[in-house]
Amino acid sequence: MSASSQLAAPPRLRHRHRKSGLFAVLAAGSLGVGVLVVVLLIFATMRESGALSSMHATATAGLALSQRAATNGTESTPYVSIAQVTPTSPAETLGLAQGDALLAIGGNIVRDVREVWATVAALPANKSTATIAWVPNLEALLGELELVPVAEQAGTFRVRLAYVGTETVAAKQGLRDGDVLLSANGLALHGSQQTWQAMVTAARTNNAPLAVVLERDGKRKELPFRVQREGELPLDRNLIAALWRFVTSLDEPRYPEHAGLASAILGSLLVVLVTILFSFPLGIAAAVYLEEYAKRTRITSVLQVLIANLAGIPSVVYGIIGLEIIDRTLGLGRSILTGGITLGLLILPVMILGCREALRTVPPWVRQAAFAVGATPSQVVWYQVLPYALPGMLTTMILAVSRAIGEAAPLIMLGAFLFVTYLPNGLMDTFTVVPIQIFTWATRPQAGYETIAAVAIVVLLVILLVLNGTAIVLRNRYQLRW
């Protein structure tokens, strides 16, 4: 046996090494899972936010869409209703009106609002228009209606055309006043709204004219009736334009494609400004006093522990303090000022801790050297300590600000500004901030709000990534090594 093979691992040891290696894999895997899951969730959110440009396209075309259901007996079929048409928009020019039903885009049938945006997103990238098919609303389709009771079925009504006029689709296709509608494509027609809805669902499944059976002058008659119309609608799917419109529009309570983040962004900016003005001077001054002036006594060490641990109090608890002390006791109302000071209180301990940490990285001999040449305490701090502590303090400040930007719980406590459709005018206005806007949107039931919540999240995450990245680079690169 050679010397080297004597030192090779015997089987038992090899087994131990294998176990050791397994543990290493487990450890690396845990870190990987921890990071990857969150990254995956972020990607899922980014995908969700992808519908923004389609929403922008339908919105700038002049449409506000909403989800409706056509009911026929117990059956309920969803369809997309045009809830609003912007005056002088391409949609209005095309002849679309409030109450119309959207059937298809580019030949693809759309049943719900999400499908509309998915279809728009799936259009070829070079197309700036799409052929859309729709059914005009009840009045434009059939004019005025009367209900006629059905003799053999109590409580059931047929519709009789009371006034078709000259402009309705019905009039143009040969229907006349006094016609009673019996069925369309073999489907019995009852009630006015249901009649229209039945025509919508029938037209959606088949692009051909409907075979309508009606009673005219006491006789049954079958007529082809084309209820759907078609036209080219311009669709602007530019993502940059979509984002810009999103960050510059106000919130909209019903139509997510028209809602924007403007008041939340401005609110966030103003709140953070107040937070900075409140907590930075206080935090830095308190840290400088504790670190550079105060004698090390029992009291200061108790304070130290208290401050360190106040930093870990749940933020929602600070909301109660803001509500009680600032809003009610000081009477500042549920304003930007109150919100800013509340967040200021929240990050004050973080500021003090971080700044003390930064001051402590300046070695004592720097202070000694400065004192020895006759500097006063304030000169020592100003000329010799603060400049070297600055990168650390800046890092702390940036991290504190980014915490304040992302904080929602204490501000939710401060009020019911869950729905703000105006830009704040001053520091005493009520307000919303980006995280609260995300919270609000995420909880709204209408389809589409989760998309804009996702977009707002992406915006927020990008801002925070930039801030935190700057802080980390600053700390790693500019901190003096002693």
Binding site: A28, V35, G312, F439
Partner: protein, 310 residues
């Protein structure tokens, strides 16, 4: 060339010039004032909760507050028992710690024991940035991504449920656990490891048998801090866990934690003078006392751990 220097007056008047004395005093007392404001804030916080919840405890006994499961502040007869809320909070917190602690500690082991310095200097900021993601964002993840996944796997799970909130909260707390545990592992002295290696232990054995046991109290402190963070977490549960207290606690169904209850009261249309506001302070005080005690406990455990090895 030896230029002459102006010499300070040799007859010493060693008193400070008046303007300098005043300036230095002004600086000193301004700074002190700022420090006092910070202290005052801490004091006011404690006082707010004490004074605010006093009227509540005049009417509701502590036993009922902590022992009854009936939380019904706006129905008649009213119920102010938080046991169900506490149980829900405990279940969600437990789920999150089940995710965060094993993964976080193992991640810390990887960072401090296996990772190359280069990789480590990349991974640590990544963890830090993940830890800086706002909680409302994690709430959105839970509500819109994780819950649908869970529903696909287990159709019986509700749209609002404690499980999804707890899991996501675990991933939110993970960076905190990892970073605190890593600090602790890093502080375990080299000599201990070397001693174990010299006895012929493999790397895994050194970590499992020597480093981790030596760091146990520090990791315990990280655990306590994570616990405190999970108890106080608000946005994730407010978004994803629902607003109905569950008794007995069932994480597949909607749950209501203490923090959600606070949010609920504050965002509801209640008169600010109503008794329910006193209940808000009582719950706030409970959270304040519990989390502050946990933090302080963790603080001293870490301090003792450091003293042991320094």
């Amino acid at each position: 060339m030896q230029a002459t220097l102006t010499v300070l007056p040799r007859t010493p008047s060693l008193a400070a010039p008046r303007h300098r004395r005043l300036f230095e005093a002004a600086v000193r007392y301004t700074l002190l004032g700022c420090g006092l404001i910070a202290v005052l804030v801490a004091g006011l916080t404690a006082w707010t909760f004490f004074a605010g919840s006093l009227p509540f405890f005049e009417k509701v006994s502590l036993g009922e507050f902590l022992g009854s499961i009936r939380w019904a502040p706006i129905t008649v007869p009213e119920g102010y028992g938080t046991l169900a809320l506490i149980a829900d909070t405990a279940v969600i917190t437990g789920i999150s710690l089940l995710v965060a602690v094993p993964l976080g500690v193992l991640a810390a082991v990887f960072l401090s024991e296996y990772c190359s310095p280069r990789l480590r200097s990349f991974l640590k900021p990544v963890l830090e940035i993940l830890g800086g993601i706002p909680t409302v964002v994690y709430g959105f993840f839970a509500l819109r991504t994780v819950t649908p996944w869970l529903q696909e796997m287990f159709p019986s799970i509700g749209f609002w449920n404690g499980l999804s909130a707890g899991i996501v909260m675990g991933f939110m707390i993970l960076p905190l656990v990892a970073s605190l545990s890593e600090d602790v592992l890093y502080a375990v002295p080299r000599s201990l490891r070397e001693a174990a290696y010299a006895l012929g232990a493999t790397r895994g054995e050194v970590i499992l048998r020597v480093v981790l046991p030596a760091a146990m109290s520090g990791i315990g402190a990280a655990f306590i801090l994570a616990l405190s963070r999970a108890i106080g977490e608000t946005m994730i549960v407010a978004l994803a866990a629902g607003r109905t207290p569950a008794w007995p606690p069932d994480p597949t169904q909607p749950m209501m934690t203490l923090t959600t209850t606070i949010v609920n009261i504050a965002t509801g249309d209640h008169e600010a003078t109503a008794f329910i506001w006193a209940a808000l302070f009582a719950i706030g005080a409970l959270l304040f006392v519990v989390t502050l005690s946990l933090n302080i406990a963790s603080h001293f455990i870490v301090k003792r751990f450091r003293e042991l090895y320094e």
